[in-house]
Symmetry: C2
Subunit: 222 residues, 2 copies
C-alpha cells in the first residue's frame, strides 16, 4: 500500500549499504557485497542505483537525518543540568548500541575528514555551539562546576560513541556472549555518572541515592 515495491527495495538496498559501508568504507565495499546483502544480483542493484558513490552519499544523508535527533543537547533550556546530561548520555548510548552501523559509518566519515559530510558540517557545528552556550550558561549561573564546555562535549561523544565502535570489545570485557544483549542500563548509569561527577552534580532523584554514599561528592578545588 504505502510503500511501493520499488521503495521497499531501495530501502533494503540502503540498509545493506549502510552495513557494508560501515564495515569497510566506500572503497573497501564492493557493489557485489551490497547486492548480496540486499538479496539482489549486481545488475539488479545497478538498476536501482546510479553509482556506488551516489549510494554512499545517500547513506550518509540518511544517517545525518537520524543523527540529528540524538546528537544534540536538548533545547529544553529550563530543564536542570543533571536531567539534560543524563538524557543526552542515555540517548547517545542507546543509539550506539541499537544502531552501531549508523554510528560507525558516521564516525568513519568524520574520521576521513568528512568530505562527503561537508554540507552538513555547519549544521553540526552550529548545534555544538548551541550546546556549548547552554553549558556555559550553567557555569555562569553556578549550577555546575567550571569546565571547558567543548572538551566536555567531546568527552561525552567519545564515551558514548565507544559502544558503537567497540561493542565487540565491550561485550568481551564484560563477559557478555554474542547473542546476549549488553546491559545498557548499567552502562548508561555508570557513564552518566562520569559526567555528572565532573559537573559536580549527583544523579537526578529517582531511587534512593545509595551510590553517592561515600565522602559526599568531593567538592574539591581544581
Amino acid at each position: 500500500m504505502a510503500a511501493s515495491r520499488r521503495q521497499q527495495i531501495r530501502r533494503s538496498i540502503l540498509d545493506a549499504a549502510i552495513i557494508e559501508f560501515s564495515r569497510n568504507g566506500l572503497e573497501g565495499t564492493s557493489t557485489q557485497a551490497i547486492a548480496d546483502r540486499a538479496g539482489l544480483t549486481k545488475p539488479q542493484l545497478h538498476y536501482y542505483i546510479s553509482s556506488k558513490e551516489e549510494l554512499y552519499d545517500e547513506a550518509l544523508q540518511f544517517i545525518v537525518a537520524e543523527w540529528k535527533h540524538i546528537f544534540f543537547m536538548s533545547t529544553e533550556s529550563d530543564a536542570d543540568p543533571a536531567h539534560v546530561i543524563v538524557s543526552y548520555v542515555t540517548r547517545k548510548i542507546r543509539h550506539a548500541i541499537e544502531r552501531p552501523e549508523v554510528a560507525r559509518l558516521f564516525a568513519r566519515e568524520v574520521a576521513r575528514g568528512a568530505t562527503a559530510l561537508s554540507r552538513h558540517w555547519d549544521d553540526l557545528a552550529a548545534s555544538v555551539d548551541q550546546s556549548t552556550a547552554i553549558i556555559q550558561s550553567w557555569i555562569d549561573q553556578g549550577l555546575i562546576r567550571e569546565l571547558d564546555p567543548l572538551i566536555f562535549q567531546m568527552n561525552i561523544w567519545a564515551a558514548t560513541e565507544y559502544f558503537a565502535e567497540h561493542g565487540a570489545q565491550a561485550r568481551y570485557l564484560l563477559g557478555v556472549s554474542d547473542g546476549e544483549a549488553l546491559d545498557a542500563d548499567r552502562l548508561i548509569r555508570e557513564t552518566a555518572e562520569l559526567f555528572l561527577a565532573r559537573a559536580g552534580l549527583s544523579a537526578p532523584d529517582d531511587r534512593n541515592a545509595s551510590a553517592m554514599g561515600t565522602s559526599e561528592g568531593g567538592t574539591s578545588d581544581p
Copy 2:
C-alpha cells in the same frame, strides 16, 4: 649494527602499510597503494613481503607491541590513585595524538571482532583484569569512590581513543587549523579531570602543582 638496507626497506613498508591499513582496512587497501606510499613498485613490494594478509598481520603484531607500553595502568602499585589515573590518561592521549594511525588500526581490528588479534586478546584481557584489580583495591581501601572498575576503564579508553579516531573533528571543533598541533595539555588536563572527579579525587599533587597547570605545549615531538 647499522640497519641493513633490507631491514630499512621492510620498515618503510611496515610504516606505509600501517597508514594505509588504518585508513581503509585490510580489504580496502591495495598493495599498489602500499607500494606507492613506500616508494616501491608493486613487484618490488612483493619481493619483500609474502602476501598482503601476512603484512597486515605483521602490522598488527608491531602495533600490539607498541600498545602494551601504553595500554595498561601502571604497575607501580604504591603510587596514589590520582597520580596513576593522570599518568594513564596522559600516556593514552599522547599516543593517540602522536600516532593516530597506530591507535586507529588497533581500534579497527578490535571493531572487526579482532580475529587477527585473537592471539593477543588474552594478553590484553589479562592486563585489563589486572587494572580492574588495582582499581578495586582502591575502592576497598576507601581511596576512591565506589564505581564499576570495568566500565571506568572502558570510559577512559573511549575518551582517550577519541583523539586518535576523531582528531580531524576535534581540530575542527576546537578551531585548530590543519598544520597546527592540538593543545594536548589542555585536552589531557580536562579529560583527566573527568576521571578524577568520577573517582572523587582532585588533581595531584602539591609538590609540583604547576606541572599540571601551565606547562603549555612544549612536549617533545617526533
